[in-house]
């Protein structure tokens, strides 16, 4: 951990709000991204990220400085999102968010934006087939390049449980991808007048 960040952490643990806000600014993107990947909805992700920082603020005095702050923060976010998912049990995205992702913005590079949106949508649709804990494990593994040990710490699971969850998730993702491709091929074939 770099000295500046450690300094901020010590100050935040002593009740310095400004120091905590600077930590929020530093970690807002990773936390928001995790929430967005877990919940698949921009508004819910924002609410979850705000809630994560509030919970972190309340528990900052109990944070052990020997642990990674990022892992600690992501652990809070992942647990909150898993709880939210369990409450909702709805894995599909809201239509507004779907439209938001499908319709490209008027950015200087619309093709690149469109391609990125398609990729984002495709990943999100794949992730939605996983159960919340498996999804959290995959997100931490691929977006944050966490090791199995770090994932086990963040999700409070044993390393062997993380390995088995990752295996199950990868298998499910591969199968889901293939079935999506099959569905797309079938739809194109049905829509083609020659058939």
């Amino acid at each position: 951990m770099i000295n500046h960040e450690m300094d901020m952490l010590i100050r935040a643990q002593n009740g310095d709000e400004e120091a905590f806000t600077s930590l929020v600014m530093q970690y807002q993107n990773p936390v928001y991204n995790l929430c967005y990947r877990m919940l698949g909805n921009a508004q819910e992700a924002e609410d979850a990220a705000q809630e994560t920082f509030w919970r972190a603020y309340q528990a900052i005095r109990r944070y052990d400085r020997n642990r990674s702050f990022a892992t600690w923060l992501l652990s809070i976010a992942a647990h909150y999102c898993i709880d939210q998912q369990r409450k909702k049990r709805i894995t599909t995205m809201e239509i507004e968010d779907w439209m938001e992702e499908v319709i490209p913005d008027h950015t200087p590079e619309p093709e690149k934006q469109l391609r990125e949106d398609e990729e984002r949508q495709s990943i999100q649709s794949l992730l939605s087939c996983l159960n919340p804990q498996d999804r959290a494990a995959v997100i931490l593994r691929y977006w944050y390049e966490c090791s199995e040990e770090e994932i086990s710490q963040a999700l409070q699971l044993s390393v062997s449980a993380v390995k088995s969850r990752l295996h199950r998730a990868r298998l499910r993702l591969a199968q889901q991808y293939q079935s999506q491709q099959y569905a797309v091929t079938e739809r194109i074939r049905d829509e083609t007048p020659a058939f």
Partner: protein
């Protein structure tokens, strides 16, 4: 056909030795199921290889600061309320004890003997209550008794069904927007 080591190997290809890779390739030639997983995983892996990082919306930290101030004020109010309720409750309790002490004329020994008396008389009181119920029960016409039982059973079933439905709905769907 045996799939287990090969399924694991498909996902951890980078950790395999050259001989294991050769074994996996040979298996993939003969096993359509593993081949199917391998093809799917390759595509998924390329999607996950450099996944786009969704940044937080603009002004996120400012909104956090605003909500932090709001939540702290709310928590403070809550703490003040709890403290006031506790103090108020303690004051009322102390006042009641004081008033009771002023008007209390019965000595503690008498109070104790009364309590023992009530406890020892409890079985007798219970049998008296039972007698009253049996007596009045025998006065009610049998048809009215059956109607009463049906009415009570009907209401119980209706309320129990409603409770179960609500419980199931809340536990499955949760409360949206919370």
């Amino acid at each position: 056909m045996r799939h287990l080591p090969f399924e694991n190997w498909i996902f951890d290809r980078e950790k395999l030795t050259p001989s294991q890779i050769a074994e996996l390739e040979a298996h993939l030639q003969t096993c359509p199921q593993c081949k199917h997983i391998q093809t799917g995983w390759k595509e998924v892996e390329s999607l996950l290889h450099t996944p786009p990082f969704t940044p937080a919306p603009p002004q996120f930290a400012n909104r956090f600061q605003a909500s932090l101030a709001e939540r702290k004020a709310k928590r403070q109010k809550q703490q003040v309320r709890i403290a006031l309720f506790t103090l108020g409750g303690a004051f009322i309790f102390a006042s009641m004890v004081f008033i009771l002490r002023l008007f209390w004329t019965v000595p503690p020994a008498r109070l104790l003997s009364d309590i023992i008396g009530w406890i020892t008389l409890a079985p007798q009181r219970w049998s008296e209550i039972q007698y009253i119920f049996y007596y009045w029960g025998s006065q009610i016409p049998p048809l009215a008794l059956v109607a009463l039982v049906f009415l009570l059973a009907g209401w119980s079933i209706l309320l129990l069904t409603l409770w179960l439905l609500t419980f199931q709905r809340l536990s499955k769907l949760g409360v949206r927007g919370q």
